[in-house]
């Protein structure tokens, strides 16, 4: 099973401040453990929302809203993608993450193709595949 772990932002991440060396070290150690256990498939941090944008869709006209976003609870600062044998294993790993101070980390199971069934037609799949391949090639 594949999971996405969503890490929320805070005032520091929004200000573009890098975490302290101590936190970085703890996080590096944790990431290493995840990789060594064969659990972590991907993981990235995100720039502050001041560099981001939202596009709002309403009555057929998309409206662009530039960052920063003010609703703190909507801000995601990073994510992991994990492969685990069960939800319990994912939770067990998450419990070991070096967070504190009331931070809430969200764990969500990722839909895989099988979960979509007939909703995703083969043309849509092909289009998506081409895009992903282009992305992969650029990596």
């Amino acid at each position: 099973m594949r999971f996405m772990v969503l890490v929320p932002g805070n005032a520091e991440s929004e200000a573009g401040e890098m975490p302290s060396t101590e936190i970085l070290e703890e996080m590096t150690k944790y990431n290493e453990e995840l990789v060594k256990a064969g659990v972590m498939l991907a993981g990235e941090g995100l720039h502050p929302t001041s560099k981001g944008a939202k596009v709002r869709f309403d009555r057929g006209t998309p409206t662009v809203i530039d960052g920063p976003f003010t609703e703190a609870k909507e801000i995601v600062a990073g994510y992991w993608v994990w492969e685990c044998a069960s939800r319990d294993e994912a939770i067990e790993w998450l419990k070991r993450a070096p967070f504190d101070g009331g931070t809430e980390i969200e764990l969500r199971q990722i839909f895989e193709f099988e979960d979509f069934g007939a909703e995703l037609t083969s043309e849509l799949r092909e289009a998506e595949e081409r895009l992903r391949d282009q992305v992969a090639e650029r990596e």
Binding site: A37, G38, F113
Partner: protein
């Protein structure tokens, strides 16, 4: 009875901790069988206590401490039963080793323990079956019933295999160590072979009603990823991982709606797992960067990589695939590789060039009775418009083929060649 949330959590902890726990204990007691018994005892205690007390903050250290305490208690109890004040020989040794004050702290301190355990469970003194069972059990954290289900054999057979394997390791006094420079390459290749065998059993199941068994592929991938973390500078470790990630990326596309095999050319590439494609290509780059000369797994991964980058079979970089097969053929000397190379040559340079190579393999004793030889030859003859000869070859291939579904396909192709 359905497992409670705590039971499931304990199972999850076990999956995370068991390899490190068994490895750490093996270093201390110098016997993998004793180590596993102690670890299992600790698990039993956890199953009794954690539902009431909650899961401890550091479950790995808790299990280690408990395993140690159980070991000491058990040995003392046995000493009493034997009406002796002291244990003798081996048991005393184990007791002394267990009775160190900072044992729990040692678990995390020696990262090479798990690697030592890998080399132990894949030791050449064991049969291939025993290596597979012991590796899945001690490193994959799989239970005996899980291994039995995966390989469609009885639990009794698996249990016996594991018991015998542990006894063999004990009797042969196999040291708990990473092999030295002189034998590392050979021993590592045995480890990679075990992991790839598990993967292949899932990828192209040799037994059972299903063509693939993805859970086994996932177990092998996990082992491959763990090994890549333990031996980051070994190119073939990344090569094997790349090969498995790339092959696994096609797993979903390899099975049709009725469970029938779907071969590469007919696969819906949108069904490939593109996260695994990217991971596979990244592992391949690491392997290539670390290699002076590409090893057999890296070469196979590089061939898989050519397909992963292409939008269709026809658009793959076939001249490069031919070159990679050249390398693989030189390394392995395998006529099966030569046959694959002939197919690549056909794709790159046309069926006449391919046919010349296939004809050169016709008398190879290793390919006698191998149905893919006439099947490939038939394919080339069709492309050259020599349909009457093609039909005969398809019939020959069908006669040699052991798999019902594949035989039907070959016979239908023979019919399609006309009377």
């Amino acid at each position: 009875m359905p497992a409670t949330a705590t039971d499931r959590a304990i199972e999850a902890v076990w999956r995370i901790e068991s390899a490190r726990l068994v490895a750490g204990l093996t270093r201390v007691v110098r016997d993998v069988a004793v180590a596993e018994d102690l670890a299992q005892d600790a698990l039993v205690v956890a199953l009794e206590q954690w539902p009431r007390s909650g899961i401890p903050e550091n479950p790995g250290a808790w299990l280690m401490t408990t395993a140690k305490r159980r070991g000491i208690d058990e040995l003392r109890r046995r000493a009493m039963a034997q009406r002796k004040q002291e244990l003798i020989g081996r048991e005393l040794e184990i007791l002394q080793q267990l009775d160190q004050p900072d044992l729990a702290a040692q678990v995390d301190d020696v990262p090479d323990d798990v690697l030592r355990l890998v080399f132990m469970t894949c030791h050449p003194v064991l049969s291939q079956d025993a290596r597979v069972a012991l590796t899945l059990r001690l490193l994959g954290g799989l239970s005996t019933p899980e291994i039995a289900r995966a390989f469609l054999i009885s639990e009794g057979t698996v249990a016996q295999r594991i018991v015998r394997a542990k006894r063999t390791l004990s009797e042969a006094q196999v040291p708990f160590e990473v092999p030295g420079r002189d034998e590392l390459a050979q021993r590592l290749s045995a480890v990679l072979e075990v992991i790839y065998l598990v993967f292949n059993e899932g990828y192209a199941a040799t037994a059972g009603e299903h063509w693939t068994r993805p859970a086994l592929c996932r177990d092998a991938l996990r082992l491959g990823r763990i090994l890549a973390g333990l031996m980051p500078s070994e190119p073939e470790v990344h090569g094997l991982l790349a090969l498995m990630e790339l092959q696994a990326s096609r797993l979903r596309a390899r099975v049709g709606p009725n469970g029938e095999p779907v071969l590469l050319g007919d696969q819906d590439r949108a069904r490939w797992d593109h996260l695994l494609v990217q991971r596979g290509l990244a592992a391949l780059r690491r392997a290539e960067r670390l290699s002076r000369a590409l090893g057999p797994y890296t070469l196979q991964a590089a061939i898989a990589g050519c397909h992963a980058r292409a939008a269709s079979v026809e658009e793959a970089d076939w001249p490069r695939i031919v070159a990679l097969y050249d390398g693989l053929a030189a390394l392995t000397g395998s006529p099966v590789v030569e046959l694959n190379r002939a197919v690549a040559v056909t794709m790159a340079f046309g069926p006449e060039a391919g046919l010349a190579l296939v004809d050169g393999l016709a008398d190879d004793p290793a390919l006698r009775g191998y149905h893919l030889l006439p099947s490939v030859r038939a394919d080339l003859l069709v492309r050259l418009g020599r349909t009457a000869e093609a039909r005969d070859e398809f019939v020959r291939a069908a006669d040699l083929c052991a798999n019902d579904r594949e035989r039907e396909l070959l016979l239908s192709r023979a019919v399609a060649c006309g009377a």
